[in-house]
């Protein structure tokens, strides 16, 4: 495993985390969270944790985001931060 790629992924991870927190549009923020989770899943898979990666993808990126969207869709989309 090439650690430089991991490092780059980590960088993207930090970036998407910051984006998820700074977007005002909540749906977009949740989408960014989803990106964050998928990237984390990819990283996990790279680090050999295939089970964790699958779970993170299914639960963290999938279900969590679905629940988020389901909840936000009945709420206001904009946040005041």
């Amino acid at each position: 495993m090439v650690w430089e790629i991991e490092l780059a992924l980590f960088g993207l991870l930090v970036l998407s985390a910051v984006v998820a927190l700074s977007l005002r549009d909540l749906i977009a923020a949740v989408a960014a969270l989803s990106v964050y989770s998928f990237m984390a899943a990819a990283l996990l898979a790279m680090m050999g944790a295939v089970d964790v990666a699958l779970t993170e993808a299914a639960l963290g990126a999938g279900i969590t985001v679905v629940l988020f969207i389901g909840a936000i869709s009945v709420m206001h989309r904009r946040s005041v931060d």
Binding site: A17, L21, V30, Y36, M47, A49, E56, G60, G70, A71
Partner: protein, 123 residues
Amino acid sequence: MIDEIAARFPYWATAVLIVIGLYGMIAKRSLVKKLIGMNILQSAIILFFVAGSLREGASVPILFEGAPGARAEDFVNPLPHVLMLTAIVVGVAITGVALAFLVRLREEFGTLDEESLLEQVRR
């Protein structure tokens, strides 16, 4: 220097992610943003554990079919993976409950802004 980075960067990156998550939970007024911060924090801890379980030159923790006598050194340490599976599920459970709270709070107070919530409760 490069060696140091190569040996440590997952810990550093997870530390940064933890801090970002905490920042989201603390500084954001929107409760949804707080939850997003919480998710970031939880994922960061998961990454921390998995990063710590790495083993140079080892493969994914799945025994090869028909390859008896597997040596432990050939596999990534599976225990942190197991723990993190649990942690992911716990995280999803907490997120689900928190979202349920948000829905009720929104229904009750008409807002998800923390200041405005507190103001309404103080009254």
